[in-house]
């Protein structure tokens, strides 16, 4: 087996912005005193004239982003997910979402894997918040390769995009050369008709491990990478419902309002089958090393395997 390379999606984000600057003369990058952590620091170095550190003032940063975008700029505005989606929610909704402006929100440090900083920084509500804004596109890449492609796709896309990146280094699962990323299109990673595991972000790798385990037990699992959470790939979700009859969703986010909710809404409306949600169970996070926390909060291949078996049993 090939050696596992690990990279944080925020690193790929930072590198992609520097690369993007070449082909996108209108690009402006904003940060809120976290350039070293969100990785926009590379862009700041390479293009100091097109970078603005707005200080610890996320709401104002989103307003500035809106004004720049309304004046023809393509803006990437970065902070931690907690402050980009949380602190500045209403500015994002009213100044960016409502006028459908070209602001791309680069939100890093999403989810439990923030680790030691604890609950105040572990944002597990951002997808729910962003999903509720009409016209907002939400991208949650699974690895560094996808993260880079998502940045380029977001820049091309007309309208607001929320990009969700992680702090933790996670396995690179896609191949830069033959991986095609398209907003709104999910990617099926394994064949299987006993159960479908629809995963997003760092849970995609866990879903692949879970599918391996299930395979050894004679259960064929279809793993789907749902990098675009909004607009969700309804067609792929419905095909999975029809062809497997049992679905598990997996995300590093609250089970309320995120991928699990999005999939459930589609399935319930058009082709009801059991859907079980693996995610953060309506609770706040806590301090600790990221890898241990992911296990503690049930964000693991083992938990996906359990839920897959339960979903199959429910289908009968």
């Amino acid at each position: 087996m090939a050696e596992i390379i690990k990279q944080a999606t925020r690193d790929a984000y930072g590198a992609a912005l520097v690369e993007l600057a070449e082909s996108c003369p209108d690009l402006v990058v904003l940060d809120a005193d976290l350039a070293a952590a969100t990785k926009t620091g590379g862009f700041k170095k390479a293009h100091p004239d097109r970078f603005f550190d707005c200080g610890i003032a996320e709401s104002n940063m989103m307003g500035i982003a809106a004004g720049l975008a309304a004046s023809g700029k393509t803006v990437f505005a970065s902070s931690f997910a907690m402050f980009a989606a949380g602190r500045a929610f209403e500015q994002v909704r009213n100044s960016i979402g409502y006028p459908h402006l070209n602001v791309k929100i680069g939100a890093t440090h999403a989810g439990i894997s923030v680790g030691e900083d604890g609950a105040t920084h572990q944002c597990c509500e951002d997808i729910a918040l962003m999903r509720s804004i009409p016209g907002m596109t939400i991208l949650n890449p699974a690895d560094a390769v996808e993260a880079r492609k998502a940045v380029f796709a977001a820049a091309q896309h007309d309208g607001p995009v929320y990009l969700r990146f992680g702090r933790l280094a996670v396995p690179v699962i896609f191949d830069e050369n033959d991986y095609n990323f398209e907003i709104g299109k999910s990617v099926q990673l394994t064949e299987g008709n006993d159960v479908a595991i629809i995963a997003t972000g760092l849970m995609v790798n866990e879903a692949l491990i879970a599918a391996e385990t299930l395979k050894n037990e004679g259960i064929s699992a279809r793993v789907i990478n749902m990098a675009t959470i909004k607009p969700i790939d309804r067609e792929a979700v419905l095909r999975a419902a029809k062809e497997t009859g049992a679905i598990v969703t997996a995300e590093e986010h609250s089970i309320i309002g995120g991928l699990g909710s999005a999939v459930t809404e589609v399935v319930c409306e058009e082709y009801p089958v059991p859907v079980l949600r693996v995610g953060v169970m309506d609770t706040f996070g806590k301090s600790g090393p990221a890898v241990e926390l992911l296990k503690l909060f049930g964000l693991s291949a083992e938990h996906i395997v359990e839920e897959a078996k339960k979903a199959i049993a429910l289908r009968g």
């Binding site: 005193d33 200080g55 610890i56 907690m82 030691e116 900083d117 604890g118 609950a119 920084h121 301090s287």
Partner: protein, 282 residues
């Protein structure tokens, strides 16, 4: 200030600094820089100024303290532990799974913590609410909050400042820790909030500027704050980020990284030597 009192405060401040180093080293993460810049302040607050009782952390008439710059929890935990709110040994569990001592202060987990903080700009508003409650209830307890100088870039801080002055909350005293550094550089390199004293004065506050590492000035400032009627007080303390650990002083890189084993040894030895020096003074 009497010599013996100063010596006591200096020793406690050094113990708080050791707790900062001990905690962040064991956590392999955390924020030593801004914790060290408020160690003298917290020594004075918890051992001279605040009317609190470790045996009754929820005592209704206690003075309130809000660490609005919540990332400096290691210093707060050091002060609370040495005051007797929990065993000093617990400092080593900082940021561990299941520990009371969360990365940012959590009022439902840790005795002595009056407000959960960590998202910058929010603590001061909660402090304003506490001061308002004291006025509503005709109580004499006072409310204190510590803010970072980068933190005051948050608009919410100024919304709180406007309200507090408008309501004449003279039972509220905030300290802005002016160490001149945030994460991405100096305040001027990021988005300058200067001039700080003039801004608070324009918002209707009583403003006092002091040297953060001089106990006489700290004492005088809190006395003046208590005596000021009709206005909230903002103490702007000029501090050194990383104060007390030579290689951390004024280094932006020590905002949010923990010492490794070697750095831990050097830092602890410096602090122990400083403690011995204070003890040896006549």
């Amino acid at each position: 200030m009497e010599k013996s009192k100063r010596k006591t405060l200096e020793k406690i401040a050094l113990h708080i600094r050791m707790a900062v180093i001990e905690g962040t080293y064991n956590a392999k993460s955390g924020h030593p820089g801004g914790s060290l810049s408020i160690s003298d302040l917290l020594s004075y607050l918890y051992f001279e100024e605040l009317n609190v009782d470790p045996a009754r952390p929820d005592w209704a008439d206690r003075d309130r303290f809000v660490l609005s710059k919540g990332h400096c929890a290691p210093a707060l935990y050091g002060a609370l532990a040495h005051k007797g709110f929990f065993p000093v040994e617990e400092i080593k569990t900082l940021r561990h799974i299941g520990a009371k001592l969360q990365g940012h202060p959590c009022m439902t987990e840790t005795p002595g913590v009056d407000m959960s903080t960590g998202s910058l700009g929010q603590g001061i508003s909660a402090a304003v609410g506490m001061a308002l409650a004291a006025k509503l209830d005709n109580k004499t307890y006072r409310t204190y909050a510590v803010l970072g100088d980068g933190e005051i870039e948050e608009g919410q801080v100024w919304e709180a400042a406007m309200f507090a002055a408008h309501k004449k909350l003279d039972n509220l005293c905030i300290v802005v820790d002016n160490n001149n550094l945030q994460i991405d550089g100096t305040l001027d390199e990021v988005t300058s909030p200067y001039p700080i004293p003039e801004k608070f004065a324009a918002f209707g506050w009583n403003v006092i500027v002091i040297d953060a590492h001089d106990f006489d000035q700290i004492e005088a400032a809190f006395k003046a704050a208590r005596e000021c009627k009709g206005k909230p007080t903002a103490i702007v303390q000029k501090s050194i980020k990383g104060k007390g650990v030579s290689f951390m002083e004024n280094q932006v890189g020590w905002h949010g990284s923990a010492p490794n084993a070697e750095q831990y040894e050097i830092a602890m030895n410096e602090l122990k030597a400083a403690l011995a020096a204070v003890e040896q003074e006549g």
